[in-house]
Symmetry: C2
Subunit: 338 residues, 2 copies
């Protein structure tokens, strides 16, 4: 066993001789671990360790529309697992068809676990904390903590599952409910051909994808789109030019004007782009980024090449068996669409 590990490490080292692989690693790009145990350790939350019981329960709650005031909106409404973890809209739409008041775009939930912080202004440190926000936000799920707690506790199947997950004395409160959702979200990672490449498989990328990767790094994109998420940190925005669509919405970043860098994983599937979802084509997104972040022109040819590289970030999504949710009881609060 030990010998095998040593040998494979050695093989990996030899393969790593490829100059592009070295350049990518030097640029700070990091692979999703190929080893399942290593990956699980990486995404796990020590304060609330992942278990199958919590993940299954968290999945149900992620799809649970009755957490919302209307009974219509779940986490999956804006971060649909079927459409790469997004809603495909410019700005999110929530309770009573209200658009996000800052005209903010719903970021993908896939690989969100790899981000340094959550929300466009990075105000929450992790998925567990993040999950507390949209459920209560009036233009999103518009619920109250009391509503959520009452809904979950009204259904014996949920109560039983919480007991299985956390022990018989569990208090099914808002924090426990939302942290269970976060626990499920930690499973939503999508290993891609790019990871195979970084992990040493030279053939995992086509030559066009490799050329695009090189352009991507050479142009400086990996300065911000780096790490395992190819994004996820807070950065200054529009530093070398004014953002073309700055007038859409009133989002100004965090207190220091910093904006969360979106992950590039599955980026070919998550249009529209930018925090205000104003850009609908990859080409325009790449060129606008070059102009306002790097102070340089990215030609059509270069943009096309980078776009080809992005296809290597299309990952394999975990299989999700659509959860069958418990039936409402006479104690379950009625939906309120007002």
């Amino acid at each position: 066993m030990v010998k095998t590990v040593v040998l494979s490490t050695l093989v990996a080292s030899i393969v790593m001789a490829s100059p592009l692989m070295k350049q990518a690693k030097d640029a700070g790009l990091v692979a999703i671990p190929a080893d399942a145990k290593e990956l699980r350790k990486l995404v796990d939350d020590k304060r609330n360790p992942m278990t199958e019981a919590k993940i299954e329960l968290g999945k149900k709650l992620y799809f649970e529309p009755r957490l919302s005031k209307s009974g219509l909106i779940s986490c999956n409404s804006c971060h649909s697992l079927g459409t790469a973890g997004v809603d495909g809209l410019s700005a999110a739409i929530g309770h009573k068809w209200t658009a996000n008041p800052h005209h903010l775009n719903s970021p993908t939930v896939y690989n969100a676990v790899f981000a340094g912080s959550q929300f466009w202004d990075g105000r929450d440190p992790d998925l567990e904390k993040q999950a507390q926000g949209p459920v209560l936000a009036p233009p999103e799920m518009a619920a109250t903590r009391e509503h959520v707690v009452e809904v979950v506790n009204s259904m014996p199947e949920y109560v039983a599952e919480f007991k299985t997950a956390y022990g018989k004395k569990v208090k099914i409160d808002y924090a426990t409910i939302t942290k269970t959702i976060g626990n499920f979200e930690r499973t939503l990672v999508t290993p891609a051909p790019f990871d195979k490449f970084l992990n040493g498989d030279e053939k995992a990328l086509s030559s066009a994808q490799k050329e695009g990767l090189k352009t991507f790094i050479d142009k400086g994109c990996a300065t911000c789109h780096t790490g395992i998420a190819l994004g996820g940190s807070m950065q200054a925005f529009a530093i070398t030019g004014k953002y073309k669509y700055a007038d859409i919405g009133d989002f100004k970043g965090d207190k220091n004007g910093l904006v969360k860098v979106p992950t590039l994983r599955n980026i070919t599937q998550t249009r529209p782009y930018f925090h205000n979802g104003a850009i609908w084509t990859m080409k325009e997104a790449i060129q606008e980024m070059g102009r306002i972040q790097l102070g340089q022109t990215i030609t059509d040819k270069e943009a096309a090449s980078i776009e080809v590289f992005f296809t290597s970030l299309d990952g394999e999504k975990p299989e999700v068996i659509f959860p069958m949710l418990p039936a409402s009881t006479n104690k379950t609060p009625l939906p309120n669409i007002k």
Copy 2:
């Protein structure tokens, strides 16, 4: 093979000696076939025979929000497979948060294949035709035929799947898209303990469930809630009394005033009840039905007993692997939330 069939028929006949089973069958109650092939034959559509390719594609389209004008609403929004095929609302909510103008409740899609006709006024004969309606209805998905056809044809993965399902020369038009959705919906049947009972397993129901079944038949409920769907036909409504909530909405039935009888399968999971979703408890629904359809008082005890019988209609839902939908392309129409 022939011998086996004869023998099992014989065994079934012997078991059918149970008086309650006989009473149930005499009342017109019919089991979902236990045999998978027999069931498939029963639900299949000769004009568009079910195939795995069509079913898989139909499932994607069932979950496809981009068919709607807003890009937000799919068939599954109002007929969610995770919540027994309904939305749990009084009246359906659609595009721009518009409530159904007649205050009609979304009926369950599960076992809808067994209904004699579709919609509360029975205006469509089958699931394929039904699927054409809500996609175009302004208060529902608010799309146009052209939008739907353009969306589907804009994604090469869909085009390829239609070719696999229907042959290379397929014309991916509105009728073909919606009939594929119908094809998937034909798979949504939920065999329950009650079917095992009707198929000869005396022990499939508890004695309380059997007592409830007897009350159900004796009271006359099976007059309308009969057949394999325990419902699904068009019947006169409020014939022995005025419906308590007749003033909610303006639905008056079909041209003859007839109203579709909802299936009782999974009825414990599909509140609220009646065409206008005005009744939130099973007990009130049962008693109101007794009063306005059968002209008799159903006591609390009788209603409770019938309610216990209904738990035997909670069926096993088919496992649905949540479909990963194709990425939009630059040709995919943009969502329009207005």
